[in-house]
Subunit: 623 residues, 2 copies
């Protein structure tokens, strides 16, 4: 056994010979950024060896100075001696939960107001003062409460579990029959989840979660009145078992789905704890967790087998899980709180997309709309109030800031815009913090600027030797956006490998759009609205996205940047039962088209591997 | 510590000084008959001390020969030495579960057939051969099954728990999509409880339970086709904490409801095991337990507080418990099997009565009916299809064979009829077995015969010294029906104390009937049908019941002996969902009238304490 001590946390751990530094750090309870699952691909898990040494050091992705200083990739570094190691700030997971932008409120409010839903939240609290029973009018406690709630909410079928029935006599009598009842709703069934003394109507919180393959986002909301209190996000810890869902499904099949479940549930629990602490909300007052995500993620959350999702004919266990007790999957909220996993469409188009359709309301409109959700999996929804077709393509996590060396989530300090001013390439960061990385919108901007400035060619290769620099590695140039200001690895740059990943992502998505339009014999010009969703923070430069060929060259006013529609739709469903019920209708109304059945998909994908496209004439004619 | 050895079981047990023999026997796992809760009142727990001795022997209820032989009452005998004790056959609980009559089938069949219900049993199994999914028509497993069942059963709302959803992929694929689905129904909601490979439709059993204060009766039924397989009953083991529910409620309040719950659940479990073993039914194939009983019993079953039932304004926790997982209360059937506790009317009129109303169908008839259920609590229901009124009176367990020294349940060997033939008092027993005691119908017959033969006067006192005999005790004569044939205590007799208990029971019931008729300004002659329910086995001589004043002197053709209507109604509800739903309607349609609010009840009760009544002219005029 060898001892490994980590700085700056000062945590030590004993490990066997041959354990990787990444595993050692995890064993010590430290979070380390990684996207590739510890396979030496993403180059994110950088550490510096201060004392001791490891065999077989790899030079990638470091320069000579760094190698000399002791920089290593933790996943590829095996421990055979006692070591003292530093984890540089940029590569720490930081408890894996750091706040997203605080602008969520601005974004949600007009959206929710303009839809005019009138129904109750999925979990609602009602304060009732009952008449104490007399010998002449004495209902049983259970029927008294149940009938009172039925009458107030106008709901025919009411369920109450034995555990709640048991506490009724005391709660009613100790509080002089003045009580607040928590009711969980689902279509025409309501469940009385809790009963408390006094009026606690205003303490009814919910957590809305977008379970992305790469990023998990959580919003803390209050149901009374309906407000978003705060939000937070973290990288999905499942990425240690693969950056895309397929790798995780394989891991689940070999080991157990429970491994994936625990990682995800722990992430969500961490976000919940953080949101509650930061806002002085008692975790017991969280009565519901409403989750949207791709179908695999939903299966991981519920410990359901994903084996048949990745095999023909790609059948998930469920696309509409029932509401559960949140504690049943290990979520730590009110012990009787409910978990609503929203309904999805197929094994490869999940509830993040039904939520997206709900958020942009394209299923209610006469005009033809197309929604793309840019994530690790790219999904495309096409249709209107009469029909909806969905498809999905594996894009990889580049546009979420993963699989890009200096990439990061859209959080304070991320470069979110890049532009040219007076001939100089400039940038801005989220919350005007000192730059620590570059997020999706910044990546798209930067690629567009590099193309316009002729620093790269249309295939993404560097063509301007003056404005790019060599790295330690052979054939690996990079463009440095932010110069290194000290000995640490603080520079922000883009490598040719990064650019390749970005182009692959945009090509996958564009090919999916192209195929689905072709199948329905539609031209791009038939589209009335082009909704763009994704974890881009609250900024995306449409012109730059068109310039690199992620989006087709349509008139700008047809595009509508819709932000994280998964969270938005899930929040709508949580706030308004009517919206929740619409998700089921959206689910059944949407047809899934599988690109694996499309022989021409690969061809379209290859054509889109240029900036903006191989066939520039065809491209220009799209609009 | 002292050792106590019991014969003939050969079980030994160590107990502290001062432990009663009754407790010692229970500790040794032996069941002993007792009705009074071990308070020296019922005189049932007789034992014979073979070796050793106890202090402070009581002489009652033994004669000198018995005392000499070492007979004692176990509840009043404290252990201060090592003892060897025999439990005579008659006083053993016999595992507390002995079969009732085998005629149940005859009794049920015409009844069920004539009602023309058409809906499914509350738990039903359906075999479905699904089309395996393809890439073009691939529903998720959950939706495939759920939609298949919805379509087949024509039910809008379908619930399926996560545990069942989890096993779907394997069960479907391992059985080539040919599966049997167990569905629990309740109104317009259905729950998929289980899924198995192949066609197991015919293995769908239910257990129907009547939870009486004194006796617990269980019927094993098959839902496909609807048949009663077998039945069994036992004394309610809760009687160690009081022969009537009030004593048990006090015990529950002082200690815990769980104590009462466990005793009842153990009784039911023992009956289930016995029924399953005797009929080669796998306990896993029991998918539902359907229970009827008085409200206190239902509360004990569910571990609900009975504190407010016995205090003004007499409010139960619930009169319509939700269906639960049977395992939640400790019932051992299929681990996902359901427990249906039927809806009752008030704290003092339980689901045994709603089931009774269902069984005799008086709530559907234009004619005026009156139903009395003769048990430890006597309940009276009056009404027709337009209105129903219920009341209840504490009768004591005499007419169930308890609180009568030689009393017993209606089971083989019980004297069930007593009559005079050629001037000689004769009797018959159930199944023509040698007589071992006397059950309710025999007790009523015997009292009537004693009155007719002028062996007792109208107050119930012995007036014929020649045909009665002294007991060891002062002022305690008895009439011996069956002479002792050997040294053992095998004689069957009635004491003046027994007769007092019987008269008290009949007076309580008759007074309740009288008051409820008066309140509604009705005369007995207004009644079209007088239904008599109770645990009398399948025989009750109406003339004798009239003769002693238990029933009013109406024309015989107005009476309808309806047997155990609690079991019958519960079985109807189990077999036909439509009948189950009617119970809820019966519950809400019935008004409870509390005799505690009736100042004249005690007066009517006193008047009825003669045979047949104090005011014989009034009595004769009733008809």
């Amino acid at each position: 056994m060898h001892s490994v001590k980590f700085y700056p946390s000062n945590k030590s751990v004993s490990v066997r010979s041959g354990t990787s530094l990444l595993e050692a750090a995890r064993k010590a309870g430290l979070e380390v950024n990684t996207n590739c699952g510890g396979e030496g691909i993403c180059g994110k898990c950088k550490m510096i060896i201060l004392e001791g040494d490891i065999p077989d050091k790899v030079s990638w992705p470091f320069n000579e100075a760094q190698i000399k200083k002791g920089w290593v990739l933790a996943c590829l570094s095996l421990v055979y001696k006692d070591l003292t190691v530093e984890i540089p700030k940029k590569h720490r997971g930081e408890g894996n939960s750091t706040p997203v932008s605080e602008n969520f409120g601005e974004e949600d409010k007009p959206h929710i107001n303009e839809l005019h839903y009138k129904t109750l939240p999925v979990v609602t609290k009602i304060y009732i003062e009952f008449e104490p029973p007399t010998i002449f009018s004495g209902q049983a406690d259970h029927q008294l409460v149940s009938n009172g709630v039925k009458k107030r909410l106008n709901i025919p079928t009411m369920q109450m579990g034995l555990k709640i029935i048991k506490i009724l006599p005391k709660v009613l009598r100790n509080n002089n029959y003045k009580v607040t009842i928590t009711v969980g709703l689902r279509r025409d069934i309501a469940e009385i989840m809790n009963i408390e003394g006094g009026d606690t109507e205003s303490s009814n919180y919910m957590v809305i979660v977008d379970m992305g393959t790469t990023t998990v986002v959580a919003h803390l909301v209050n149901a009374h009145p309906r407000t978003t209190v705060d939000s937070a996000s973290c990288y999905n810890s499942q990425s240690i078992h693969g950056s895309e869902v397929t790798g995780r499904m394989i891991h689940a099949e070999r080991k157990s789905v429970k491994v994936l479940q625990k990682l995800l549930v722990d992430d969500i629990n961490r976000l919940i704890v953080m949101l509650c602490e930061r806002n002085n909300v008692d975790i017991k007052n969280i009565n519901a967790v409403v989750c949207a995500g791709n179908t695999a993620m939903e299966h991981f959350l519920l410990d359901l087998s994903t084996n048949n999702i990745r095999r023909k004919p790609f059948i998930p266990v469920t696309v509409e899980p029932p509401p559960l007790r949140a504690s049943e999957v290990g979520l730590k909220v009110n012990k009787r709180g409910l978990l609503y996993s929203l309904p999805g469409i197929s094994g490869w188009v999940g509830s993040d997309l039904t939520a997206g359709i709900l958020a942009v309301q394209m299923y209610k409109k006469k005009e033809l709309g197309l929604l793309i959700d840019i994530g690790t999996n790219g999904e495309v929804i096409l249709g209107n109030r009469d029909w909806l077709v969905a498809t999905s393509a594996s894009a990889g996590p580049a546009l979420e800031g993963a699989s890009v060396e200096c990439g990061m989530r859209a959080e304070p300090g991320a470069v979110d815009k890049v532009f040219v001013e007076s001939g100089i390439i400039k940038y801005s960061t989220i919350n005007k913090q000192p730059p620590i990385g570059i997020c999706g919108s910044g990546i798209i901007d930067l690629l567009s600027v590099l193309l316009n400035e002729k620093i790269i060619d249309r295939s993404g290769r560097f063509i301007d030797e003056n404005r790019t620099s060599e790295t330690g590695e052979a054939n690996k140039r990079r463009f440095v956006l932010v110069e290194e200001t000290n000995q640490e690895d603080n520079s922000i740059y883009l490598t040719e490998k990064d650019i390749e990943n970005i182009i692959t992502a945009k090509a996958a998505i564009f090919a999916a759009i192209t195929i689905i339009m072709q199948r329905l014999s539609l031209k791009f010009s038939d589209l009335d609205t082009f909704y763009i969703a994704g974890a881009f923070g609250y900024y995306l430069n449409i012109e730059n996205a068109i310039n690199i060929g992620l989006l087709p060259p349509l008139p700008l006013d047809k595009f509508k940047f819709s932000g994280n529609t998964s969270i938005k739709g899930a929040k709508l469903a949580a706030f308004y039962q009517e919206a929740f019920n619409e998700l089921t209708r959206i689910r059944s109304a949407t047809t899934y088209y599988d690109l694996l059945g499309a022989d021409d998909y690969v061809e379209e994908f290859k054509k889109a591997m240029f900036l903006p496209h191989t066939d520039i004439d065809y491209w220009r004619a799209i609009s």
